[in-house]
């Protein structure tokens, strides 16, 4: 079947999936170009896995349709299955089979396959080739799952949260593997809730929340959409301790002795409770007045200023802090990230606190 654009390998067109009254995926549209790493990024429950599984033909959409390499995933599922490789989020494999055996078994399901030993070598599993699956580490099991997804030399590889639950080193190894797949021209669809992972690996990011696409662009463009290239972070423990003890004094007159300097650090831990207080709102308004600040955010006791004029913002902030006696601590500046984009768009963090 001819495609309108020969470069497009996946088309998701208004995909909808409902579970009872709950709509897990609510009208998802996107296109994936050949050879790109396409990231589905969002918190748990955003609908990433359900979207992937509708494209893979594992779930029947309640609305819309998906095409892979021009084949409809419902009407031509057999053809779709031949050209895709799938690593599911929670697959376990037969524990009592050897790595090479299980790879050979999966290879037997396809008409077109790649040689097994070079494939396992590529996934850094050649040493474990004759070992049982149950004796593999978490990272090795995940690499085996990817090897099985590649055994038919697929056009598109689907990796559903491949690094979740892995230690940092195993995560890095996996990133290298994904980047190597990209070098070889494989199209990869990857879901993750790690924004750093999406940033490093993906050419295009589809930011999802509550079953919908909230943004779809390159990582650089997404960050640029914040209109602030930098974030300034700092804490104000003394000021907040003072606010808090003022609140405590208002609440109970006998609480005076707790307002000492030593309790300042402890007080900051639950400063979130005071964020709705008049003093906090006042502070927020004051921070917004600083030069260059586009938006103000707060994560636990850390204040974040987003700015496109870092130098002006820093100068003003320090002057203000000195004149108001804020006792600024833990000051940091960094480039804005995808995490900031997500928070900016949803008001919530990617990771559940």
């Amino acid at each position: 079947m001819a495609m309108p654009n020969e470069n497009i390998v996946i088309e998701a067109d208004g995909l909808i999936k409902r579970y009872g009254d709950f709509t897990a995926v609510n009208g998802v549209n996107f296109q994936v170009r050949q050879g790109e790493v396409f990231g589905l990024l969002g918190p748990n429950g955003a609908g990433k896995t359900t979207t992937m599984e509708m494209i893979e033909g594992l779930r029947r959409p309640d609305g819309g349709h998906a095409r892979v390499a021009g084949f409809d995933t419902q009407k031509e599922l057999g053809k779709v299955k031949e050209v895709i490789g799938v690593q599911l989020q929670s697959t376990s494999l037969f524990d009592l089979m050897k790595v090479k055996e299980i790879t050979r078994m999966y290879a037997s399901f396809y008409t077109h396959t790649v040689p097994i030993e070079p494939l396992l070598d590529d996934m850094i599993l050649s040493e474990k080739m004759h070992g049982l699956v149950k004796n593999l580490s978490g990272g090795q099991k995940q690499r085996l799952a990817i090897a099985l997804a590649l055994v038919n030399d697929p056009l598109v590889v689907f990796l559903d949260e491949p690094t979740t639950g892995l230690d940092p080193q195993a995560r890095r190894t996996l990133w290298d593997i994904v980047l190597r797949l990209k070098e070889r021209g494989k199209t990869v669809v990857l879901s993750t809730h790690y924004m750093d992972e999406a940033h490093v690996l993906c050419d295009t990011i589809c930011l999802m929340d509550r079953g919908q696409v909230i943004a779809l662009d390159t990582p650089a463009n997404l960050v640029r959409s914040l209109q602030s290239d930098s974030a300034v972070e700092f804490r104000l423990p003394q000021l907040e301790a003072a606010h808090e003890s003022a609140g405590a004094v208002r609440a109970a007159t006998s609480g005076g002795s707790f307002g000492s300097a030593t309790s300042a650090a402890a007080g900051s831990a639950d400063s979130a409770a005071t964020s709705a207080s008049p003093a906090a709102a006042e502070l927020q308004a004051e921070l917004m007045q600083i030069r260059g600040v586009k938006s103000v955010d707060r994560r636990k006791d850390v204040h974040v200023l987003y700015t496109d004029q870092l130098q002006d913002t820093l100068t003003d902030l320090i002057q203000q802090a000195a004149s108001r006696n804020w006792a600024l601590t833990d000051l940091q500046t960094r480039t804005a990230t995808l995490e900031d984009v997500f928070i900016h768009m949803t008001g919530r963090s990617l990771r559940e606190e």
């Binding site: 594992l58 031949e82 599911l88 697959t91 078994m105 999966y106 399901f109």
Partner: protein, 371 residues
């Protein structure tokens, strides 16, 4: 190699590498056989013992005592403490206590002296038995009744006019183990397939193994065909091992054709595997598949004549017993092994098992889910 053979091979490897499964599905029936087999291995007789207490000490009572202790069907010994004897009966150390009461001789003298037509009071012998062990007690009481009857007839100079000559038509010397081994093979086929398939498929589904396969071009029919092939091989092998152990250790007989025996092993495997697939389809979680399978297979074990003859089962259960597949599998295996029956005699069993197989596979194909 094709997907079908790869999957078959994988299933065989999974089985061989899982020592626990090997143990429970192979050693368990063998242990069962060895245990029950040695228990009942001393010939045809069932061990039954008791005591006879002579409280009369007359010539007549001595003669009766002789008659009791002199026979071989029961192991009866003379004793003199009634309380002690009854006590050990209650404890189950013995199954019978017979008491020849005081005045037996005198009563006997009076009755036998009277004319044959006179309605004199017969001399009495008291037999105590343990009614909680009904089967054994019944045999014991029958033997006691026969002995008393014999003595009675002797004393009255009774001459029988009609006699029965007992002769087994099969002219086979069958022991309990010959009855037991086909039952154990049937039990093994049922539990391996019904419980085994239900548990395994439900667990593979839960762990996402089936979903992963579903995302490949593999056809469900290929997957199921490979399952069937691997299990047929395993069951055939297991049945042969159990039969070999039976014949080597206990001298179990296989009087019929091995091919026919194998045919029924195959039929039974397929029928129970299909039922296992249904249970796997119905069970919501792998944890519930086990109990559901157990709930079905455990009663079948007792109703299906695996350990006890079906005719000993209560009347109201008979229609159910006639319906369930295990009954027919057990019966067919037993007929082939014990009596050497051929297919012309066993076509009803083959038909009923075949019926179960077809119905169960149709139902299973509707209830089977990859996820």
């Amino acid at each position: 190699m094709s997907a079908y053979w790869q999957l078959t091979l994988a299933q065989l490897k999974l089985f061989i590498r899982n020592r626990q499964v090997i143990f429970w599905s192979l050693m368990f029936p063998i242990f069962f056989m060895v245990m029950l087999g040695s228990f009942f291995s001393n010939g045809n007789s069932i061990s039954l013992s008791g005591q006879v207490i002579d409280q009369d000490n007359s010539a007549e009572s001595q003669a009766l005592l002789q008659a009791f202790t002199g026979q071989t069907a029961l192991e009866l010994k003379s004793a003199d403490n009634e309380d002690k004897a009854l006590d050990s009966l209650k404890k189950g150390d013995q199954q019978l206590v017979i008491i020849i009461p005081q005045g037996y001789g005198q009563a006997l003298a009076v009755t036998s002296a009277a004319t044959p037509n006179a309605n004199g009071t017969a001399a009495q012998v008291v037999a105590y038995y343990d009614e909680t062990n009904a089967a054994l007690s019944q045999i014991g009481l029958t033997v006691v009744a026969q002995i008393v009857d014999g003595v009675s007839k002797q004393l009255t100079h009774y001459v029988p006019v009609v006699t029965v000559q007992n002769q087994g038509v099969q002219s086979l010397n069958l022991k309990y183990i010959d009855f037991l081994v086909p039952g154990i093979v049937a039990m093994m086929i049922m539990s391996n397939n019904l419980n085994g398939v239900a548990g395994q498929i439900a667990s593979w589904r839960e762990r996402g193994i089936l979903r992963r396969m579903q995302s490949t071009p593999l056809a469900a029919s290929t997957f199921i065909a490979a399952q069937i092939t691997a299990r047929l091989m395993l069951n055939g092998l297991q049945a042969v091992i159990v039969l070999l152990v039976g014949s080597l250790i206990f001298g179990t007989q296989v009087n019929g054709s091995w091919a026919l025996l194998l045919l029924f092993v195959v039929l039974g495997t397929l029928a129970f595997m299909a039922i296992g697939f249904i249970i796997a389809g119905l069970a919501k979680t792998p944890e519930s598949a086990g109990p559901i399978a157990g709930f079905i297979s455990f009663p079948l074990l007792f109703l299906g004549g695996v350990f006890f003859p079906i005719k000993n089962m209560p009347e109201f259960l008979q229609p159910l017993i006639k319906l369930i597949p295990i009954t027919h599998l057990t019966n067919a295996l037993r007929q082939v092994m014990n009596v050497g029956a051929d297919l012309t005699a066993l076509w009803p069993e083959a038909t009923i098992l075949g019926g179960w197989l077809i119905v169960a596979f149709v139902v299973a194909s509707f209830t089977f889910k990859w996820e």
